[in-house]
């Protein structure tokens, strides 16, 4: 089935916007996606019609809001095919989800000299939390490298694993290269050694159908705002056995069972990890976004975005001096590139004046830039509402900009 892009674009009012008197071409979707009206409507309706603090409230509104929040949890469960709803923990985003695991898993499961394996293509959000853990537990990071095309060298994983390895934390799709990593294979290798796997799904969830049970991952994190949902809400999925085993991340209301000044016992899953008033409006709007994606069909979206990626790669490659950063066979959602010796900042600034929003810089993945010995790239990242015509505008824009810089 093909999807009706014109109809989809109608759902996203911001796409009608003009910037600098040019129609907006939005290719910064890996940073954040635009929101369909149904998501914004849910937020508005939530505050106008269904706002009360959730759980423990005896009154009507509180129960209604609680039901909406817990229904959202079920929507997320179904969307990523988790076994139980209580394996879904709402967080502020992918970053907080990874920090939660780094802290709670780290302090409970790691001792000094233990090792965590990550990859060379991680976003800083899957590097820095582990470095913070190092101030509490003297752990070591081992790195799975990628090759010159940006393909993860999974065949090196076995040699990095030893009896001190406690966790393997990898991104599903690289935000800087677009590379899609073979998570199932990584999980299989890890589990052969009884090592759990955490997946940063920030860049995969909007583009690929996610089945955490089929992937057989132990933790999976993603952000709402990258999948057409609101900012400030995200998800940590954890297998029940792991979420039971690791301690709470933050303390406060909601997450407790009983508190005395001597001792506190903790609430059951998932509430043990949701200290304080949860963002129940955000969770509900995220569920609306996931329903919106499901109605269009994630497979249909994936196919459309794959076509965009293929078309963009072909068109961009015809530009003089084009150099792609990240040429893996298996890519998803984005293209990173440089043109001649034009600095990404310069190119991005001119594209902006042409109404084209791209991201430039190191994309919070400095080790990736170091590997290619570059300062940054220009990144065009796609969403379901992007079109081939917009890619043509991008290509023309780059050609126009390149003329300004040619020496």
């Amino acid at each position: 089935m093909t999807i009706n892009i014109d109809k989809i674009r109608e759902d996203f009012p911001i796409l009608k916007k003009e910037v600098y008197r040019k129609p907006l071409v939005y290719f910064d979707n890996a940073a954040t996606t635009q929101k369909p009206t149904c998501v914004v409507d849910t937020i508005v309706k939530g505050y106008y019609d269904c706002n009360a603090n959730i759980h423990r409230g005896v009154h009507f509104l509180s129960q209604q809001a609680t039901e909406a929040h817990e229904a959202a949890r079920k929507t997320v469960q179904q969307f990523i095919h988790a076994q139980h709803a209580h394996e879904i923990v709402f967080t502020r985003g992918t970053t907080e989800a990874i920090n939660l695991v780094a802290h709670s898993f780290g302090i409970s499961q790691c001792s000094d000299d233990d090792e965590i394996i990550i990859t060379q293509m991680e976003h800083h959000s899957n590097i820095v939390p582990w470095q913070l853990l190092q101030s509490i537990r003297n752990i070591r990071l081992r790195i799975i490298p990628f090759d010159e095309k940006g393909v993860l060298q999974v065949n090196q994983l076995e040699s990095l694993i030893n009896e001190k390895t406690k966790l393997i934390a990898v991104s599903h799709v690289s935000n800087a290269l677009g590379t899609t990593n073979p998570i199932k294979e990584i999980a299989r290798i890890a589990h052969n050694h009884d090592i759990p796997v955490l997946v940063d799904g920030a860049q995969s969830t909007p583009h690929i159908s996610i089945d955490v049970q089929d992937l057989d991952v132990d933790f999976f994190a993603f952000s709402g705002h990258k999948i057409y949902g609101p900012t400030g809400i995200g998800v940590l999925y954890g297998k029940e056995k792991w979420l039971e085993k690791i301690p709470p991340y933050q303390g406060g209301g909601e997450m407790i069972h009983k508190v005395t000044f001597e001792k506190t016992t903790f609430n059951e899953l998932p509430f043990k990890f949701e200290a304080g008033t949860p963002d129940y409006i955000g969770s509900t709007a995220l569920a609306t976004a996931l329903d919106y994606v499901s109605n269009i069909g994630i497979e249909n979206i994936a196919q459309h975005e794959h076509e965009l990626l293929h078309y963009a790669t072909e068109k961009l490659s015809q530009i003089d001096g084009m150099r792609f950063i990240g040429e893996a066979e298996s890519k998803s959602g984005l293209i990173s590139f440089l043109v001649g010796n034009i600095h990404p900042y310069d190119l991005g600034t001119i594209l902006d004046k042409l109404g084209i929003a791209v991201r430039t810089g190191h994309h919070c993945a400095e080790p990736v830039m170091q590997a290619f010995n570059i300062e940054g790239t220009v990144r065009a990242s796609f969403a379901m509402y992007n079109t081939k015509e917009e890619i043509d505008i991008l290509v023309a824009g780059i050609e126009r900009a390149a003329k300004m810089f040619r020496r």
Binding site: Y20, I342, Y345, D346, M404, F405, R407
Partner: protein, 141 residues
């Protein structure tokens, strides 16, 4: 020429350019005709780090006047630093510290002054004023 006269001259160059791309082309061209900075000053010590562009600025004090050099690894920030160098060079520290850099607003670059913009123009102006202040306190007070 005074700092004001130099600014007015730059404003007149930009005045008739309506298209954003033409304005940027002029900025880029200014960067390309810039003499740049002596290699010995292209070091961490003289680096003003914006988020994405690197800009190096150095200043010398001679006979009561400040002489700047500046360069960037990006053409746009390079053009901006080159204009600032032209405008502020060969003036006294007091003139530099008192200067109102209104050309930034008038040629439409005000948005680049925002701290969130990534070319670090604000940081450039700040650093150039710091040089003037340092010379003033070192040689004139």
């Amino acid at each position: 020429m005074t700092i004001e006269e130099k600014q007015d001259q730059i404003i007149s160059e930009f005045e008739f350019l309506e298209d954003w791309l033409d304005k940027y082309q002029l900025i880029i061209d200014k960067g390309m005709s810039n003499k740049g900075i002596d290699e010995e000053y292209k070091t961490e010590e003289y680096l003003i780090e914006g988020c994405q562009s690197k800009v190096w600025v150095h200043a010398e004090y001679k006979n009561g006047f400040v002489f700047y050099q500046g360069e960037s690894n990006t053409d746009i920030a390079g053009g901006i630093v080159s204009m600032l160098v032209d405008i502020l060079t060969a003036h006294t520290p007091t003139e530099i510290l008192d200067a109102d850099l209104y050309f930034i607003d008038r040629i439409g670059l005000k948005e680049h002054l925002s701290p969130t913009r990534s070319n670090g123009m604000l940081a450039m102006v700040k650093q150039m004023r710091m040089y003037a202040l340092a010379f003033k306190s070192q040689y004139e007070d």
